[in-house]
């Protein structure tokens, strides 16, 4: 247990007769990127929702840093250190890129109501927000309204919001989707850098990125974990090739 920051045991969720996640047991070590791959509709995003608490699981337990968070609400889980990105963006489109980050920083410090005061005079806040925007290569676009950012830049901003929360673990849901090659490379380098501080559970379909990043890979199919192993083990796994990778990778 000591080397695990996140430990999920037998997590299950059914909608009627349909089991979306079926007794999933998965863990995340300190200093690790654990990739979760699987076909569309296999249950990956539902698992993430169960971990953050936005979907209530039927049975199972979730331990974060030796604390049982199974019965905590999504807000409580976020406060103690789970931060996620979304397949579909959670950005506030009317806000500029930097104001989106500032809002996330305020949320982390539980000072959201400062928004109604003179947040813009808070130099430290904006300096921190700029550091994050620099990390995600959006500093030049800090004053552009999020709705006017390109699809790829919005994905970067989404990761920036998660960084601002400075969580114990990151749950990234398809962060590379819509990014060009240089954006993907930036994200790969960023994830390598931040994993020692906050380990990452990564859902991603870009296999080049997964193979470049993952310390371990788990494969989910029809709501069940069907394989866990190193990148090499997963690449060679016949079942994984059949259900997900195909034979061209």
């Amino acid at each position: 247990m000591k080397n695990k920051i996140l430990n999920i045991t037998n997590l299950s969720k059914s909608y009627g007769a349909f089991k979306v996640t079926d007794e999933i047991t998965i863990d995340l070590h300190f200093d690790e990127i654990h990739a979760l791959i699987g076909p569309n509709g296999a249950g990956k995003s539902t698992l993430i929702k169960q971990i953050v608490g936005s979907v209530k699981h039927d049975i199972g337990s979730i331990i974060l840093d030796q604390e049982d968070i199974t019965d905590l609400t999504d807000v409580e889980r976020a406060k103690i250190g789970i931060s996620r990105t979304f397949q579909v963006s959670s950005i506030i489109p009317q806000f500029s890129a930097i104001d989106n980050i500032v809002l996330s920083l305020l949320d982390k410090s539980s000072k959201t109501f400062q928004l109604f005061k003179s947040v813009r005079n808070n130099k430290e806040l904006y300096t921190n927000a700029k550091k994050i925007l620099k990390e995600i290569e959006l500093l030049e676009k800090c004053d552009i309204s999020a709705s006017d950012l390109s699809h790829g830049d919005r994905r970067k901003l989404e990761v920036g919001l998660a960084l601002a929360m400075d969580p114990k673990v990151f749950l990234f849901d398809e962060p590379m989707a819509g990014l060009d090659e240089s954006g993907t490379n930036m994200m790969i380098n960023l994830f390598k850098k931040i994993k020692s501080n906050s380990p990452i559970l990564l859902i991603e379909h870009d296999m080049d990125a997964v193979f470049a990043l993952a310390d371990r890979v788990s494969v989910i199919n029809y709501g069940k974990i069907v394989a866990t192993g190193t990148v090499d083990e997963i690449r060679k796994n016949e079942l994984v090739r059949d259900v997900y990778l195909g034979y061209e990778i």
């Binding site: 569309n40 699809h151 819509g178 060009d180 090659e181 379909h205 990778l245 195909g246």
Partner: protein, 229 residues
Amino acid sequence: MEKLLKINGLKSWYGLSQALFDVYLEINQGEVVALLGRNGMGKSTTIRSICGLISNYEGDIKFKNISIINQPSYKIAQLGIGLVPEGRRAFTNLTVLENLTATAVEGEWNLDKVFHLFPKLAERKHQNASTLSGGEQQMLVIGRALMTNPNLLILDEATEGLSPTIRSEIWKVITILKSKGVSILIIDKSLKQLQDLADKFYILEKGKTVWNGSSKNLTSKIAQRYLGV
């Protein structure tokens, strides 16, 4: 070859910020044309301009020799442009069948042909689109665009967020569509697949068309310079 779409001097704005400065592009009947560029260079804005989904734009956009600039998007769709937008934009409160028939126009592409192309949609035709997986929703959105029997099919990141096996299925379908003579404008980050498929390439940088040519001319030097790959 008959000219299907011709864009000249296209400029577009989001509010006060100008996104496109000078975009040109031509598509002939039956061609597959790839629009390339790094993130934020104006690819999706170009497509939104073609489809009349931008409120502030100017320049020449001629489709089948008719000017479509500043036309409402529904009229542009009626003229024969079918769009598969980025992100999964199925009508999630409708069934698969309703999605396919809601905007259908009579022509070569009908339910039988779409179901033949995507057998999974036939299996799920009475299911609500919200219950489909991401890959199935993407198939549905492509099927819905085909059911409008477009003269030009526009695919904006149609393989994004899909598993490798589904992605390769979608590429096979696009190859079939090409062999059937469907004209296609495509944005995708899979350069290798595009090089096998597209007849012509246009590269955008900072809202301008900066390069165009064939697959053969798209050398690694060009790709490195403009796309960073």
